[in-house]
């Protein structure tokens, strides 16, 4: 295919970070190594070591009607096995979180297969076959520079907090206090799973990233960081889309579009 994806317009650092997130060829920096079992505990869908529950028999054993699309598309491992579909949901603080909902949606769509994702102003849910979801949560969503323990929360319900001031330790507000700041070690510990059920043992997700690092890797335009108005290329594109959508309904003549 001759088309080469450009991912995202813009000349600023923020735009570049967004492109890096979306581009499947870019390997994001690995910052921490959370054990598989701990990720499973935080997600709270099954106990570590427990078998995956299935909703249908393995595809190979199923007697399905003939369909050439099925031959074209290679199923995910979880789909082959018939695993359930589960979710993980993130909340991103407006204070220079590395990711934010729209960026997440686009990144998921560019990088992963078999995902269903939902974007809301303060949270972003991703649904997928359980086994595949666990693997990608660990390898990409939590272990890399896509995540920050303080500014991003893993929250299944009661997500309120993304637009609030941080607390004194620099953590995003969470009414359910799923994670706490350990003042001795400086690490963030998850004491509850994503919906607020207490965990037997706290899960250590490492140190919050320093402010400079966050400003370096963030994908959020902010007046006290990199403001959106500084990015001329991006503004041109946004304006063009806005005007085309506004005028599009009124059958504009050619010369209107020339000015866009």
């Amino acid at each position: 295919m001759a088309y080469k994806p450009q991912f995202y317009p813009g000349q600023t650092k923020i735009a570049q970070n967004r492109r890096d997130h979306m581009n499947p060829d870019v390997q994001l920096e690995k910052l921490r190594d959370i054990p598989d079992d701990d990720v499973v505990k935080i997600m709270g869908h099954r106990q570590p070591g427990e078998d995956y529950k299935t909703v249908h028999p393995p595809l190979e054993e199923m007697d399905l009607p003939e369909d050439y699309v099925r031959d074209l598309v290679e199923p995910l491992n979880g789909a082959k096995e018939g695993h359930r579909i589960r979710y993980i949901q993130f909340t991103d603080s407006m204070y220079f979180a590395p990711a934010q909902p729209y960026d997440r949606a686009r990144t998921y769509m560019w990088r992963f297969r078999g995902v269903d994702t939902g974007t809301l102003s303060g949270r972003q849910v991703i649904e997928m076959r359980e086994s595949d979801l666990e693997a990608l949560s660990k390898n990409f969503l939590i272990d890399t520079a896509f995540f920050d323990p303080a500014r991003i929360g893993i929250r299944g319900a009661t997500v309120h907090g993304h637009s609030l001031r941080l607390d004194e330790n620099g953590l995003m507000f969470d009414a359910l206090q799923r994670y706490v700041y350990d003042e001795k070690t400086g690490h963030v510990l998850y004491v509850k799973d994503q919906v607020g059920r207490p965990l037997d043992e706290p899960v250590d997700v490492g140190e919050p990233l320093p402010e400079e690092k966050l400003k370096e890797i963030t994908t959020i335009y902010r007046i006290d960081g990199v403001p959106m108005r500084e990015d001329e290329e991006l503004l041109t594109v946004v304006k063009r889309i806005h005007r085309a959508r506004t005028l599009g309904g009124f059958l504009p003549v050619e010369d209107v579009f020339e000015k866009l």
Partner: protein, 164 residues
């Protein structure tokens, strides 16, 4: 009775211990009449989702002591509305803030609390209700939501007379 109102807006949400220290310090000032603590509510139990009904046990929801009077803190404090009897101690207040909030804060003088029943009160409670509001202690108007029980949301800290 002439009073001025001050809003203190720290740039971070405060821990219960900081709130306690801050309140004790401002209650040392002579001119502080009333303090309203505004912030994010901290629920006792989880109200939504699969874990509904489980206790939250938030470490910042606890009883603090202001001048020896126990006050149940049900919010994570993010803003204080303080009524002062005059502006003679504004500088001292500013100094306390500077010391307590190294991460920054805003201090504004203005009007933040209502001091008489409003149209909303007429709609909500009718004329009888507004009559009751007019009958109650003037110093309590604007401190609390009239729907909530006073015992839960107002604490009187004796000096000459103070609430919060």
């Amino acid at each position: 009775m002439f009073m001025i109102e001050v809003e203190i807006f720290p740039h971070r949400y405060l821990k219960a211990s900081t709130t306690e220290k801050f309140l004790n310090k401002i209650y040392d000032l002579k001119t502080v009449e009333r303090v309203v603590i505004h912030g994010q509510p901290l629920p006792k139990v989880i109200t939504y989702g699969p874990a509904r009904g489980l206790p939250v046990n938030h470490t910042e929801r606890k009883i603090i002591h202001v001048k020896g009077v126990p006050v149940e803190l049900t919010v994570m404090a993010g803003r204080f509305w303080i009524t002062l009897s005059d502006d003679s101690e504004l500088d001292k207040l500013d100094e306390i803030c500077k010391e307590m909030f190294p991460f920054g804060y805003n201090l504004r003088v203005g009007k933040f609390l209502k001091d008489r029943p409003t149209v909303t009160d007429y709609i909500k409670y009718g004329e009888d209700g507004v009559f009751l509001i007019n009958e109650m202690d003037r110093r309590l108007i604007g401190m609390v939501d009239p729907r909530s029980r006073m015992a839960n949301s107002v604490t009187v800290v004796e000096k000459e007379e103070k609430e919060e």
